[in-house]
Symmetry: C2
Subunit: 283 residues, 2 copies
């Protein structure tokens, strides 16, 4: 692996560049980003060493890369894959960091069989942008891959770098990835957005809310600050698993609502307590 | 106010004893608790100066008090009110720290008109018990009262002490208190319990959950560790407002589920973002 091109030099893309350098990668790292500012920030912090700005420069950077890392939102990843597929060489690898994997895996099988290793590092921050990028962002984090074929040499090489970032690799089928993420990430996001939106409708600028709301309120609505721009792509590309978890939650809430005064409520608390003991065994 | 008797010397009760002393209260503070250990812990840390252990000592402590503070769960508060009402003197004040107020206010009007000032300090910790009590627990916190009549002299005195604890007093009608708390505290609790219980059913001891679940999962299920013993009383005494908020959330989740690919989802995120800007204007 001599040349890497990172498409999307925001928080994750720029952190990958920094992590590569910290892990000893001595080849070229070229960045592509729709935002000139993000590209400049990534360049300034040496997350990339070359910025490809024009369509011609983009094409050259993609052609010269051994590994192309797509680090934009999911619909953007799908678009880049469609654009680059006709021009790809036999030994190039495309990998990505998208939040959902089934659609990406399907398109990869269709357009670039044998040349794509979809991935998803479980790392991030509350805010995005190259300015917050860090070489150690992936240290101790799980990095999921959804391999579509036996590993090629260039894939083994990329996996080696990811391990040198300090990440733990976990291989999953794309559908399993999307189903688990619907449960542990996408559903919690939608719940927090729903609760925040309801509270906005109910209380508006009531001073009482601010006086009475405590840690529980702040914590349960924190994700309500998340931007639609990112979640639109996730909702679009993981609709069925996400809809299923939301429907399950609606039914569970109805069950609790109808049993606020019965022993069923005790059972729900017991199940929940059990789950928390698994997650936080020391508490 | 010369003598105070605190019924329930756990986290809140013992913290009230410590806060009284720190604020300069020089009278007697007697404690009553079903747990000999909690009573002993409160005595050791000087949150109380006398422990009333037998039914006779309980009766004497309640008779001698100018202010009786009921600091047990709500159904316990209702029970103590029923027991003590026939024996109360005309100048005694009963106040409490219960999580719901309508039922307590109703019983007060029925059994001890003119002698009860229901209250609810918005303070606490993840775990209970006298061992975690602190004089500064109420500093900067909102302390809600739901007054049932024009303030009496002893009520004014108690309000003065609460202000000296560093708390901000907010007066609300009991029904308004219960409705707001259903929205900002009780509903978030039930949602976190429901999500935790669902995840326990879905994943059990799957190692994938632990590898993939991040901050969002931990945060949205943290309240799932809350004990049924406390929430049973809240669900029992605030059923209608809580059921209404849960039903509203069910409908909101259904709406989002049916609009994962439409512009309606953008609207929900925009409302949620607006709410978070009110709660955390600096972000």
């Amino acid at each position: 692996m001599k040349n890497v091109t990172i498409v999307g030099t925001g928080l994750i893309g720029a952190s990958i560049g920094l992590a590569l350098r910290e892990a000893g990668f001595a080849g070229g790292i070229t960045g592509i980003d729709a935002s000139g500012d993000e590209l400049k920030a990534a360049l300034m912090m040496s997350a990339i060493d070359t910025a490809a700005r024009s369509p011609d420069e983009h094409r050259a950077a993609l052609e010269a890369a051994d590994v192309i890392v797509l680090a934009v939102p999911v619909l953007g990843i799908l678009n880049w894959m469609r654009q680059m597929a006709p021009h790809m060489g036999a030994h190039q690898l495309v990998t990505d960091v998208g939040s959902t994997k089934t659609r990406i895996a399907e398109l990869a099988q269709e357009l670039m069989p044998g040349r794509c290793l979809p991935g998803h590092p479980m790392a991030g921050k509350e805010s995005g942008g190259a300015a917050l990028a860090e070489a150690k962002l992936f240290r101790g984090a799980t990095w999921i891959f959804t391999p579509l074929h036996a590993s090629t040499e260039i894939e083994m090489s990329w996996r080696g770098w990811v391990e040198r970032f300090g990440a733990h690799i976990l291989d999953l089928p794309p559908e399993r990835h999307d189903r688990i993420c619907a449960w542990v990430s996408h559903m919690p996001q939608m719940v927090s957005t729903a609760m925040s939106a309801m509270l906005e409708d109910e209380f508006g600028d009531s001073p009482e809310l601010r006086a009475i709301g405590g840690r529980a309120l702040r914590e349960m609505t924190r994700l309500g600050a998340s931007p639609y721009s990112m979640w639109r792509d996730i909702a679009h590309t993981n609709e069925a698993p996400l809809a299923e978890t939301l429907h399950t939650l609606e039914q569970r809430l109805q069950h609790m609502r109808e049993n606020l005064k019965t022993a069923e409520l005790r059972e729900e608390f017991a199940r929940a307590n059990e789950f928390r003991r698994r997650i936080d065994p020391l508490r």
